[in-house]
Symmetry: C2
Subunit: 129 residues, 2 copies
């Protein structure tokens, strides 16, 4: 439906780095099922409030969550489209790999192992200096 738009390279750095921490992934899980105040989140973990706050900031700055003031509380909720973008980047990788398999099948002739050619990947590696 909505074309999820591709992640720019710097954004990909930030998003994957944000995902590379267990606490942050956990925060993301919680805020995916409903908005959570920062202090409610902080109560869940052993570490200090400030530490959790920092994790939320990291998630916020790369767009994986958004904060919304509600009186004195700040509600954190996950932005699923950002997750979808990261997911999409990995899907491109997988497509690239399937393309390779397709070429191998072609090279070995015979019959393709499983209709693996599908289509040329529209996204070139192309990061060629």
């Amino acid at each position: 439906m909505d074309p999820p738009q591709r992640l720019r390279d710097d954004d990909a750095d930030a998003v994957f780095r944000a995902l590379a921490d267990g606490t942050r992934r956990d925060i993301l899980r919680r805020t995916l099922t409903g908005p959570q105040s920062i202090s409610a989140l902080a109560g869940r973990y052993e570490m200090s409030f400030a530490a959790v706050q920092k994790h939320v900031t990291v998630l916020d700055r790369c767009g994986l969550v958004e904060k919304q003031r509600f009186g004195k509380e700040q509600l954190v909720s996950a932005r699923v489209e950002r997750i979808a973008q990261a997911s999409g980047l990995l899907a491109e990788f997988e497509r690239l790999w399937r393309y390779r398999v397709g070429r191998i099948d072609l090279l070995l002739d015979g019959e393709p192992s499983e209709r693996a050619s599908e289509e040329h990947p529209s996204t070139h590696p192309s990061t060629d200096p």
Copy 2:
């Protein structure tokens, strides 16, 4: 087809951290379309050979690529199933979100916006200390 097995939490840390670098993602793209020797890879980037070697080591230690000796060369190739595992983790996140939407629809009664309930996510957040 092949049940891709879920990423353990430490592995997820390592895999996402490895993905959080543009050079490493680029190496991954290149090795997805075919094995590359380390020095061939190193020739592609501005940085020193040792730096590229380190990036390959990072990718290797988290399982995103594998190295295979071939005479004096070491061929690096991507392991797509590892990418699929990371992809799968993100897919779980998205499922979690759809489940939330389902509950909201339920709460607001009316008719579900788009058959959004699908199924209860079998993977609990459950990381409750």
